[in-house]
């Protein structure tokens, strides 16, 4: 669990603004998210700091927009856990932050 946390913290410390940085951070987050056990999700999310939680939420929405059903099902779990701990405000911050928006439609 500690390795999961450190890997995740590294990728989430600051959401980068440029495309390449965002993509590489997302790949890291995606790998960590797929490997974490369901029972450990809550503990990992609890250890994250608020800015990291905001960054994680943005990555979750990025992942949910990809249309991969396996990835989506895991991300729903993380999303629910993160919303429970960080609140609706976390979602609102990911909706309103224009500088680091993850999807361009």
């Amino acid at each position: 669990m500690a390795s999961t946390l450190s890997a995740l913290s590294g990728a989430l410390t600051k959401l980068s603004i440029d495309e390449v940085g965002k993509a590489s951070q997302f790949e890291c987050v995606r790998a960590v998210v797929m490997k974490t056990k369901e029972s450990e999700v809550e503990a990992v999310v609890r250890e994250l700091s608020p800015p990291q939680r905001d960054a994680l939420m943005k990555h979750l929405y990025n992942g949910l927009s990809m249309g991969d059903s396996k990835l989506s099902s895991i991300m729903f779990l993380w999303h629910k856990e993160l919303t429970q701990q960080a609140g609706i405000g976390c979602i609102i911050r990911s909706l309103t932050d224009k500088s680091t928006r993850c999807i361009d439609v």
Partner: protein, 169 residues
Amino acid sequence: MSNTLRPYLTCVRNTLTAALCIQNFPCQQVERHNKPEIEYRTNEELLLNPVLICRTENEKVFIEPSINSVRISVKVKQSDELEEILARKFTSFLEQRAEAFRVMRRRAVQGYDISFLITNVHCEEMYKHKLVDFICQFMEEIDREINELKLSVNTRGRAVATEFLSAFT
């Protein structure tokens, strides 16, 4: 597949609760006008980041928030041609009666089956949590409806064919 329905709806519900934090905002271009900014899109700063929540490739919800309105587009699961036809007919039936739903859009956004437009006026007149409940319930029930329609089409087809072909045996 049904084991991701509950988490999918929970995710949509939470996102909608966040996106529906809308307020009255008069039009900046024309005096005394009040327009749903998500439809007119005249000012970039009034639009929020859109969110796409995919359960699978073919089943997704696209939520576009803005300062005074939110547009929610739903793509319903359609696994074969019959379901596609049924979904099209069903959503077209609902869209013709969009006035009765108040929050429904008469034309779905390109690439989706049905769209809703919720404005600040709707949030003032109706409970926000009830609006969110409505959308989530709608998404759940439309799947069920289309399954039922498909079953009844197949049953009727089978009954008619049996009856018709029994004349030749």
